[in-house]
Symmetry: C2
Subunit: 234 residues, 2 copies
């Protein structure tokens, strides 16, 4: 983990700060920013750590999760370039979740106090963030529904659809994210063994192809049918 300088002007990430129109404001924001570069499988923040900053992902993939007993976590979401991180710390003194890198990542940090003041003085950005929270809440409520009502097969299918929507695939339908069975199950709400079994099942039905830890999606529509009972994340 080390720090380096990244300029907003050169940045292609579609983060909330891109909503700032005033060049003066951009300059001020730029000055308050620090950037953190970290390799894969590193913890960025942990439950009960004090919240000092609100961040945006410049590059990489990060999992946000709650720690359960005997090491069984529940993954809330996988975040990528442009996504806000630690935003739930806005109304809490300590983080209610943990975050770790899935891949090498770099993130831009803003001091929490500065960010709050900034929001209070930029109603347009604040309103954008409000809409984002509303969207996040929608996704979280859909997850609630799916966890409460789907069986394991449906939950694993839904997880693949979520990863497909969020990270996409390359030209060969290979998912642009590689996860362990444990991470998949921590998101789906089941065990790593069940994920193994269901993925093998999907493969034998030619819905997917397993290539080492990669997943190639052959029949997206069939997966959608399996998960069709649930509501889908977007």
């Amino acid at each position: 983990m080390n720090r380096q300088r990244l300029l907003c002007a050169d940045c292609k990430a579609p983060c909330l700060m891109k909503e700032i129109n005033d060049p003066e404001a951009v300059k001020i924001v730029e000055e308050k920013k620090t950037t953190l570069v970290c390799s894969k499988n590193q913890k960025i923040f942990h439950e009960d750590m004090p919240v000092n900053s609100i961040s945006f992902i410049h590059s990489g993939i990060i999992k946000v999760y709650k720690t359960g007993i005997n090491g069984k976590n529940h993954i809330i979401r996988f975040s990528k370039t442009g996504d806000i991180l630690g935003h739930r710390g806005l109304n809490t003194k300590y983080y209610p979740v943990s975050a770790s890198t899935i891949e090498d990542s770099s993130i831009c940090l803003f001091p929490k106090d500065f960010f709050i003041t900034f929001l209070e003085n930029n109603s347009r950005v604040a309103f954008k963030l409000l809409l984002f929270f509303s969207k996040e809440l929608e996704n979280s409520e859909i997850m609630q529904f799916n966890l409460a009502q789907m069986n394991v097969r449906e939950k694993v299918a839904e997880t693949l659809l979520y990863l497909n929507t969020t990270f996409g695939t390359d030209k060969n339908n290979r998912l642009n994210i590689t996860l362990s069975r444990q991470d998949l199950s921590d998101y789906a709400g089941t065990t790593k063994e069940q994920v193994s079994k269901i993925l093998s099942e999907f493969q034998s039905e030619n819905l997917i192809l397993l290539d080492k830890k990669d997943i190639i999606i052959n029949e997206l529509n069939e997966l959608k049918k399996i998960a069709s009972f649930g509501v889908h994340l977007s």
Copy 2:
């Protein structure tokens, strides 16, 4: 369902609109407001209905839920006096959830367009709403965790704790909300039969007392121990 006139000035409900300081603004808001009075077990809005207004609960109790297949719903939350309702319609054209009254209720409606304009011009209220959304998101993520990791006994205990925190009890520890077994199970993420069984179990352990459809909480701390594995809603 009928309409009647309720004045904000006389209102004791701790709703977001109480955050408005400017008397002129209060007058404008007051004029845009309509009030809806409806008896128990009535549908207020339904999934896929267009969102025309954002509301606040003046009195009563309302359940917000997603409709599953074969009538098995998932209840997202029980809302009460002062709570905002339909706020998720802010960023969607159609409601992503349904809402029905659990008790006789009255709600204050504001046209959606007006409400959005109002927010954009009142950064203080917008920021308050932002913090509220953040809090809602926290609760929803805790629900995700509990649904993913708790067993039925823990989920039912957690549901009782949630109702105790949200609605409180009278001087005899009798919960200030009365729900059917079906509603309890739709919130807990199990079946009505399991809720019956677990509640009987709790009663035989003297943790609670069942009096008709009412629930009297005898040993709050013991219930907390049972649900201690999970994180708690606040």
